[in-house]
């Protein structure tokens, strides 16, 4: 097996997890930068002239993070083309069954095509409202999965642990209580 075929396979958690963890010291080492991706949405707000006090700061000083975000998009392109072997996604059979009972059919793609590639009013509302909750919640909590679950926990911040517990409360409520009402 060549190196490219090797890299084209899905990467195991014990390969991917440590690499993601290394993002924290890498950004610190490159310029004392804090790994936190959702802050870019705030910077994008600050770019637009406005009177909201939360967005009054020099976003140009945070342009490193916007470049980091652009890099993630490029990485997504490389990972899904050059480093893609075209094999369908595999997930637990139990999850497939659970989703089937909500009439969501597992299709082996990254995201369910029936939600993400079918632009009904309901689906657009799901994507828009879901995004709204992520954006609002991330700023209210002062960070997202990268800022709290990875950066914050790496620095043993108790507030970050509380935020991560919140992430899971929200995720479990959505999955078990609200999914049956939405789907």
């Amino acid at each position: 097996m060549g190196i490219l075929e090797f890299l084209q396979q899905p990467w195991a958690w014990y390969v991917a997890g440590p690499l993601i963890g290394l993002t924290v010291p890498a950004l610190l080492f490159l310029g004392d930068k804090k790994f936190g991706i959702s802050a870019n949405f705030r910077h994008a707000c600050a770019m637009v002239p406005n009177n909201v006090s939360f967005f009054q700061y020099d976003w140009r000083k945070e342009s490193w993070n916007l470049l980091f975000a652009l890099g993630i998009v490029l990485g997504g392109l490389v990972g899904s083309t050059l480093l893609n072997n075209g094999e369908p996604l595999q997930i637990a059979a139990q999850t497939q069954t659970a989703l089937e009972s909500l009439n969501i059919t597992f299709d082996g793609e990254l995201v369910p095509q029936q939600i993400f590639a079918n632009f009904s009013v309901g689906n657009i509302a799901i994507l828009l409202i879901g995004g709204l909750l992520v954006g609002f919640g991330a700023r209210y909590a002062g960070g997202c999965t990268s800022g709290h679950a990875i950066s914050g926990l790496s620095d043993l911040q108790l507030p970050s642990l509380v935020a991560v517990i919140g992430f899971f409360i929200g995720g479990l409520v959505m999955t078990y209580l609200l999914f049956p009402l939405i789907f």
Partner: protein, 154 residues
């Protein structure tokens, strides 16, 4: 009145382009890992919240473990940045309503769209263009927080 520091007057100097490239590359590597570990998959997020697979817990758990050891080493050996500047850490304010309420709101959205902000960007690069609708939502949510911030308990 119009005095500016050199870094403000020359935001696109060669030095800053070189520095910017580092972060672009770091982001690219992160994006590749995010795709190849499938953490950008809506289905993987469902698997996690239904406790049907160890995969996501393995990724997050080992990432945090490596992060903790790295931060400890940086503090222990007083590691400097590549330009020799000190690496700083700031404790987050211990006011808990914002973390639990904001975190829960975030979690509701995370499970619904199956993506947090990093994976949204990687999905965009992967050609899942409907994620743009999610990102517009996240942008509007950020605006909404900025407008409502003074009325919310923190």
């Amino acid at each position: 009145m119009t005095t500016q520091t050199p870094s403000q007057t020359r935001p696109l100097s060669l030095a800053s382009i070189g520095e910017g490239t580092r972060y672009l590359l770091a982001g690219t590597l992160f994006g590749i890992v995010a795709v190849k570990s499938q953490i950008i998959s809506w289905y993987r997020i469902q698997e996690m919240f239904r406790f049907h697979s160890f995969h996501m817990y393995g990724v997050i758990g080992s990432a945090v473990l490596v992060g903790i050891v790295s931060v400890w080493l940086i503090k222990r050996f007083n590691v400097k940045t590549i330009s020799g500047d000190p690496i700083t850490f700031q404790d987050k304010a211990p006011t808990y309503p914002r973390y639990i309420v904001g975190g829960t709101i975030f979690g509701l959205g995370w499970a619904l769209v199956g993506a947090c902000p990093g994976p949204m960007l990687a999905l965009l690069g992967s050609g899942v263009f409907s994620i743009i609708i999610v990102m517009i939502g996240a942008y509007l949510g950020t605006w909404l927080y900025g407008l409502l911030r003074s009325y919310l308990p923190h």
